[in-house]
Point group: C2
């Protein structure tokens, strides 16, 4: 039962069943019944989380390139130089399972199911990827886990876009969005555009639109004018559309 206490002023004080602090009637939250229901719900949600985590542990694989025992791998992934086609220095082929690659990526699936070079040779050659990024990429396909910093998140997002691994793409986008600041928003916007990262694109655009007065003074802006002015046109279009919407909303409010 909630405690009621008479203060000197004669007003009734109650004691919160959760934080145990006293409060007055005007700071009241829920009744006892709703508090108890909410506590039960929280317990249930926590139990569900534990069950889901245990399912994830069950479904997760050991990663072949980190394991010391044989893992029945049947394909190799090799990072190669884009120009010469030769393996990158200090890299070794990353072993994997066709079944895992095909299950996670429709691009790998198509590659391996048809009689393409990759399927016949048992080696998939990937250009424009570092050895470290490739290993982290394969690791993610087996475990749904990656240790990210800015660079790695960008590298993995590029691979996720190329090989259509949606889950990894979302994961990298979330990380990059959490790190977004105005100073890097134009670069992020351009990067997101290039690799079809729509969530990152929206977040970067929103930050740019909030700082339009400073936009044209930035070095990256000058570079974009030269290299990819269409991107800037899209930003200006979004700005104009936002202004029109804001004006329309203001009119509706004042008019209504």
């Amino acid at each position: 039962m909630a405690l009621m206490m008479s203060t000197d002023g004669g007003e009734e004080m109650m004691k919160c069943v959760s934080c145990k602090e006293e409060y007055e009637a005007e700071d009241a939250g829920t009744c006892r019944e709703c508090y108890e229901e909410a506590s039960e719900t929280e317990e249930e949600l926590k139990r569900e989380i534990e069950e889901l985590k245990s399912k994830i542990n069950f479904l997760r694989f050991w990663t072949p390139h980190r394991s010391t025992t044989p893992c029945f791998t049947d394909v190799l992934l090799l990072p190669v130089d884009a120009d010469s086609g030769k393996p990158l220095p200090n890299s070794v082929p990353v072993p994997a399972n066709k079944a895992v690659l095909a299950s996670r990526s429709p691009v790998f699936k198509a590659m391996l199911e048809t009689e393409m070079e990759e399927s016949l040779s048992g080696t998939i050659r990937l250009s424009d990827v570092s050895y470290d990024a490739l290993r982290a990429f394969v690791n993610y396909l087996y475990t749904a886990e990656a240790c990210l910093d800015d660079d790695m998140a960008c590298n993995l997002l590029i691979l996720a876009d190329k090989y259509e691994v949606k889950h990894l793409k979302t994961y990298c986008e979330k990380f990059l969005i959490s790190k977004l600041i105005w100073e890097s928003s134009l670069i992020s916007y351009s990067f997101a555009h290039q690799h079809n990262a729509h969530n990152l694109l929206d977040a970067a655009l929103s930050l740019i639109l909030d700082n339009m007065d400073k936009l044209s003074k930035r070095e990256e802006y000058m570079e974009l004018v030269e290299k990819d002015p269409r991107l800037l046109v899209e930003i200006y279009e979004a700005y104009l559309s936002k202004q029109t919407n804001t004006a329309a909303a203001a009119t509706t409010t004042s008019g209504g």
Copy 2:
């Protein structure tokens, strides 16, 4: 802000921010701040659940025997008659991936890693298992999902015990515990004993101990006296130990 209302009696009534019903001070639960914190926590937990579910979907495989496209399988599972060693009628070999079997079951791992018959022939022969149970078992190894009824839960628990797939064992035990009734508790107890299902064993035992007066009248009891009297001895030992504990607790309470 919480509403306070003056009733006819002059006592203050409050309105619950959750159910919107009025309540008196003595039925008060939390203060406003704690209510808001709890709501936020609930939202966070729900978001976490969504993320975990999406991770599970990513890690889950298509099941080879249900897929119409090739899945790079490299091993066959064949249900055979325990006596003759011949394949069961109306069954076909169930295709699978060594990597998946070895990742989910230490028994399969040992079988496949060493130069045993299974590893060399690419076929694992399983006796004492129906074709349907085998397919459901393999399906679980790929997806962490199974559609259970009483029979299937027992069959999968036996396989989970034999091949040391802990996650599946727990899953089947939970299902069987949820279906436990006094009438079946002795059979369940004996079954759990045979297949090392400790959670089910404890739950069945607890139900038996609550109904000791009716125990010796049951048909299954007579059968156990003949077939496996040690199980009954264990039940009686547990009963005695429970009685002793209850008596000791009562003494402590009345003595203290």
